[in-house]
Assembly symmetry: C2
Homo-oligomer: 546 residues x 2
Amino acid sequence: MSGRYSLGLDFGTNSVRALLVDVANGDEVATAVFEYPSGEGGLLLDRRDPNLARQNPADYVLGLTAVTRAVLEGIDAGQVVGVGVDTTGSSPLPVDARGAPLALDPRWKDDSAAQCWLWKDHTSHAEAAEITAKAAEQGRPYLGKCGGTYSSEWFWSKVLHCARTAPDVFEAAYSWVECCDWVVGHLTGTLEPSRMARSVCAAGHKAMYSRTWGGLPSKEFLATLDPRLADLRDRLYDHAVSSDHTAGAITYEVAAATGLAAGTPVAVGAFDAHFGAVASGARPGVLVKIMGTSTCDCMVHPLDNALPDIPGLCGIVEGSILPGCYGLEAGQSAVGDLFNWVTQLTGRTHQELSREAEALRPGESGLLALDWNNGNRTVLVDPLLTGLLVGQTLHTTAAEIYRAYIEATAFGALTIIRRLEEYGVAVKEVVNCGGIADKSPLVMQIYADVCNRPMKISRSGQTCALGSAIFGAVVGGVYRSAEDAQSAMVGFKDRVYLPDPAAAGIYAELFRLYSELHDAFGTGHGDASLGNVMKELIRIRERVRA
Amino acid sequence: MSGRYSLGLDFGTNSVRALLVDVANGDEVATAVFEYPSGEGGLLLDRRDPNLARQNPADYVLGLTAVTRAVLEGIDAGQVVGVGVDTTGSSPLPVDARGAPLALDPRWKDDSAAQCWLWKDHTSHAEAAEITAKAAEQGRPYLGKCGGTYSSEWFWSKVLHCARTAPDVFEAAYSWVECCDWVVGHLTGTLEPSRMARSVCAAGHKAMYSRTWGGLPSKEFLATLDPRLADLRDRLYDHAVSSDHTAGAITYEVAAATGLAAGTPVAVGAFDAHFGAVASGARPGVLVKIMGTSTCDCMVHPLDNALPDIPGLCGIVEGSILPGCYGLEAGQSAVGDLFNWVTQLTGRTHQELSREAEALRPGESGLLALDWNNGNRTVLVDPLLTGLLVGQTLHTTAAEIYRAYIEATAFGALTIIRRLEEYGVAVKEVVNCGGIADKSPLVMQIYADVCNRPMKISRSGQTCALGSAIFGAVVGGVYRSAEDAQSAMVGFKDRVYLPDPAAAGIYAELFRLYSELHDAFGTGHGDASLGNVMKELIRIRERVRA
């Protein structure tokens, strides 16, 4: 042990985690988790509106204090060289002129619009569609870097929805801040909106921020959405930076509460998945898949290597993952959630279904599914898509369906890889992290076979927090760059899932059929005749069974 | 009570049933069921070949003796005016020159090819395809009356498959007899093939028999399939008749065994579903749906009213249901079987799922299914089709899926009605019988709403056996015609399911989408763009939920 540590703080959907890491080698020295006490598992919900999902910012402060205290037990705070922070996003919250959340003000604390608008809040889908339509019809460049379609999960949709549906909250708010920036501002005492460091990851991927058009979208454009948004722009920011920048230092107040040393440097924040990618060895040519209930796919691409806009990709942002590279984000809206849904539907456990599904050969069930039960994030960028299962007989079993949905998510993953490569981003290696990558050899082998590429697994089971710690080590001066920190602190599991050529051959045939369904149902531009689909599935099934 | 009875004998897939009926009013006086002792639930199966399904003819004799004895208890045999017989079909069995089943000969009793080839035996799918292809390429008219496609469930496919795969059995057989003819031959001592009465229902629907081309297909045609089939034609029959004809009278041997009076007249046999249709009030304009694991749809059409060939209908046969009318047969390959499959998949009971599904409004699940888990019998006539479910979200429940499959079978039913009407057969009334019609108000209401027509339910819970009894009464001289017997002996339940106009409106929209999927996946001639399907389902769902 080097005796020098970095602290990573990872604010998730239901809890916050602290990870204390040895900066010399990435060894994970201590970890602690705090479940958010508010609402249901940390989520403020509304029975009348399934699209609503908020968080109470008070939980962040309670949580970071608890987990930091816990991991520092027995550690000299002076050994902690730096702190990194990642959160979910886009999760903006309304704040007053000093940067204090409206939600902490007794006047607003019970108003759901005054809370943090969690990434998965979809109340603003109409506003998202309006932003997409107006940007397109005005010929604005803003959507070029986010796949051509603005999302209800993102900053401006949410703020506009607040302005329209909760104008009192909107009026009371001086400004709006991404959760990852707010936490860093709180740790460093720089909450005043004009002084607060802003994450280029959050700004670029979710708020249409780009250097190429001078920061956030123009006031003229925002005014066409709502004049109040144009006014708000003056109280936002002009610059956002990558996480190798120091946002500030731990304040005396935070030091007293958490046990950290005052003055410890804190890195600019970012989104959890992006830091997870860094901690999984993101570098040009490497696709990192963060696999959980949904999946986030991250890649980086050298800034000096021209990159076109890539349709359907939900972000291409300078410095959002690694400084000095474009950060590319894609994703699948339901992966683990889809497998959970099959268990709920069938009343069976993952263990049972996995054991039975493992005994099946590719193609032998005759089933094929589209993995769109929660819409399609990449490459169709369409939340109004749904699931599809074809090929059922009267003998189709729950395990066959479970496997078909695993395969469907793998076909979705391959569709993303194909899109990246089609636009000049070569995928030379795939690294997986997150709960599913850790726990399911079945899923990982299917991904290797479907994508016909080896699947590596990140060594760490908590890559997002590790990514935060990596940037803590960078701002702590241990490494000159995130890449240097990665070289020392990142590792992989010994087991690499290698594609089986026979399985890959079958899956190549099934992927062709998947693509037919994908285009027919997803774009309406498919080849009209789907009369071959059931027949070919049966032909493959009979061949495999013979 | 009139003191005059008719006996209906109904030979099913797993058991034989006797029903003793008061000829004056159709009252069901006594019933008895005998489960076939051979094999698994009466089926002789082969673990290596899931397509194989045979029956042991010895079970028929054992069974008819037991059930007849049981229902005659306390009855004077002289009060029984006649006997009718229905069986499954096409279920042919090989017999020797005296009409004795090879399966009862010690030399052949363990050979599966020597047994009765049950309707659901699909071992001969290659032969069926060959018959279809050769009839078409030679420009033969034979398929015009059976929808254009010959089936592996039918007579010639099975006999040809036996000739090719069990030539010793084929050589040992003098001839082949449909089960319904064999049972009647046994009862009346007319088993010698040249003397045996032949059912026009079996001959016309399954053996390409028609007066318009002089009976069975020509020797020339059969020789192109196999010269041995051409030879066999000489040992089959030239005439087949409807069930208002007397096939013969109960023999002394059968009388002694069963308790019936020797000399009691026996009607020419027919298939179970066709007699079920008669007992449900089949007459021109009335569609009778016999709803069980699969569904058989029957109609009649006046002989003097010109009728074109109807593509996809699996039979148009003179006199097969009511003498003096064309009998039209259509069907759905899986109905109750599909609902059973959902219960197996989800581990839930019909009762639970029905209760939850009943609380759902049409369209609110956003789901749509194709009911093809066992292929499509009418109108696509394609066993190589499979099931499809679209519209799933992460919140989709088992009850929603259960309801979606009920709706899918109703859309399939409506597709058949549309096809009939398109070719000039008006469907003015729908009568349902069978287990599902009796037991599931949920299914019946959905059918009423989807088809936008009232759904009547047959009074009898055992319509096939009642149909046999109706023909027993006709040959017993109580009535001059089947129609007269129907007037006296057929009734309906008081409860008629009436369509709800609001539900019918939603279902009209969903049926349009069902038809798009039906054509795209079933024919390959669909409108190419299915990009609207998921969107429209969501739009309907949101409207219904609002």
